[in-house]
Amino acid sequence: MCLAIPGKVVKITEKTCVVDIMGAEREASTELLDGVKVGDYVLVHAGCAIQKMDEQEALDTIRMFEEMKDIAHE
């Protein structure tokens, strides 16, 4: 359930933003999420931005993935 996809905010208006997903753009409502800024990654679901994506957390996660060892050592 709940297909949602990260997109980069490229434009902001009062109640909406435009997000860029690999070059495709779509307007999304910002009425479910406070403080959206241009340059943010937001998660888009059913035409609404439902959460900001944290780039630092993403980098940390990737580093963690890359550094995974065997199951016993996890």
């Binding site: 359930m1 297909l3 690999m22 888009v44």
Partner: protein
Amino acid sequence: MKDIITLAHGSGGKLTHELVREIFNKHFANDTLLQGNDATCFDVPQGKIAFTTDSFVISPVFFKGGNIGKLSVCGTVNDLAACGAHPMYLSCGFIIEEGFPLADLERIAASMGETARECGVKIVAGDTKVVQKGAADKVFINTSGIGVVPAGINISGSNAKPGDKVIITGYIGDHGCSILLEREGLDISSDIQSDCAPLSGMMGEVLAAASDVHVLRDPTRGGLGTTLNEIAIQSNVGIRIFEEKIPVRNEVRGVCELLGMDPLYMANEGKMIIIAPEASVNTILEVLKKQRYGVDSCVIGEVIDTPAKRVVMKTVTGGSRIVDMLTGDQLPRIC
């Protein structure tokens, strides 16, 4: 002549003749077309005849990268090319909705003429029907085509052999994706444009360099996934493709991710699947990469023994999964 199509243009009377003369004959002009009889007669060179038909019902009629007219020529020319044939003659049947702008019809006819000239094919037979407002969606075009298969060429969807390589002549999904976005309602904007192109010239070069090609097929409706399945079934083989080798533009990927769709099932209108023995692959790629419509060609997979009649894809995890035929149209999904 008024500026819109009325039922009178389809009545078979004077306005029909005027329309044919001032739009179709003008843009399709060639010596064979103008016989003015119920059928057109001509000689064809020796060889097997290839014959195909397709109707084009695309909405919108004009789209980024082409229009229904260009598409209707490319579609049929490409089907002939996909049998190894040299396309020679086309027919075209128009079904036009009352009220359609004549200027748009002329743009469409001009595109058809231009595309036909590009691939050296003659539009020699035609038909025009006009239906009541609301009885058709703007304009539908059927084209049927006749080509000649040179001696020594034997291409069929049933010829794929284990060990053969699978080539695609460029990025997939552009056409399907661009049309999806041009339809109302999704409000997604992108630079994606239809790949609509006539491939007969390029395929002629390929076959001249490598006459041992086993299968050609243009992955139109149903996309790469469905077309490969057709081949696997027809040839009673398996086909393995590699997710990371399949060329998909970022914008197409973006749209697909957003809507929960799969580029493997998005239509292409200027791509060819080529299945050929491994020994010929380099020759073929060399020819393709020199061609305007083939610069992004690459090997995406191989023909295997088992599972027969199935297409499997090796994914980024190293695992495999089935690539089935499309079931019904892909619908935007959300949950």
